[in-house]
């Protein structure tokens, strides 16, 4: 079974530039999550999709971050414009169930460095 695929693995951009991350969840998984993990901290939920609808985006900085999940499968997360404090690993996860009372599978993440 293929896992959660994310790209790119690494990205370095200057502040005020824009960047986009892509995620392909496990086939058949209805729920998709984007997490931000700053070095030394646990993952922080940014947005949760159920199929192609947003379930929770309360911690997404909507003035600069946006995410979409077209056709309820792949998802993209965009940052525009980036700030220095956005430097982090961005993790995508998916699960069969509606919430995290079922196992969540994580991708390897995209490490973003904003300089």
């Amino acid at each position: 079974e293929a896992g959660v695929a994310q790209s790119p693995r690494y990205k370095i951009i200057e502040k005020r530039q824009s960047v986009a991350f892509w995620c392909n969840p496990i086939s058949g998984h209805a729920t998709l999550y984007w997490y931000q993990q700053i070095l030394g901290q646990g993952p922080k939920l940014l947005i949760q999709f159920q199929n192609n609808g947003v379930v929770d985006d309360s911690q997404l900085p909507k003035d600069r971050f946006s995410a979409e999940r077209l056709k309820g499968v792949d998802s993209t997360l965009k940052i525009q414009p980036a700030k220095l404090e956005d430097s982090a690993v961005y993790l995508c996860a998916s699960s069969l169930g509606r919430n995290m009372n079922t196992e969540a599978f994580f991708g390897q993440g995209t490490r973003l460095t904003v300089v």
């Binding site: 959660v4 999550y33 646990g42 993952p43 919430n99 995290m100 991708g107 390897q108």
Partner: protein, 111 residues
């Protein structure tokens, strides 16, 4: 909001010993709690889920307990091996089913 506390100091133990990691939480008592393992440069990997009506759950050398009175979960690795060295994260939902992760505890198992 839900606050999760894991020991930020690394736990160093000798191979063969039992490692015990602690996860304490405040406020809302969750219906379940999960433990994940994270290796450097990788995403977290699910290990175990324990529900509020389960006092203990086991999987091979892993054991998790869940004490809703103490608001604490303990994660044990018996007969630890150097390959068990990693960061271990606990995760639990708040009353709006928003999932929170602790900051994790790094385990170092020395041969």
């Amino acid at each position: 909001s839900q606050k999760i506390e894991q020991n930020s100091e690394a736990l160093n133990i000798q191979e063969g010993k039992t490692a015990t990691l602690t996860c304490n939480y405040t406020n809302y008592s969750p219906a379940y709690l999960q433990w994940y393992r994270q290796d450097p440069g990788r995403g977290p990997v699910f290990l175990l889920l324990i529900r509020e009506n389960e006092k203990e759950k086991r999987k091979e050398r892993l054991k998790v307990t869940f004490d809703t009175t103490l608001k604490q979960s303990l994660f044990h690795i018996t007969a630890s091996q150097p390959a068990d060295s990693a960061t271990y994260l606990c995760a639990l939902p708040n009353n709006f089913n928003k999932f929170y992760f602790g900051s994790g505890t790094k385990l170092n198992v020395k041969p």
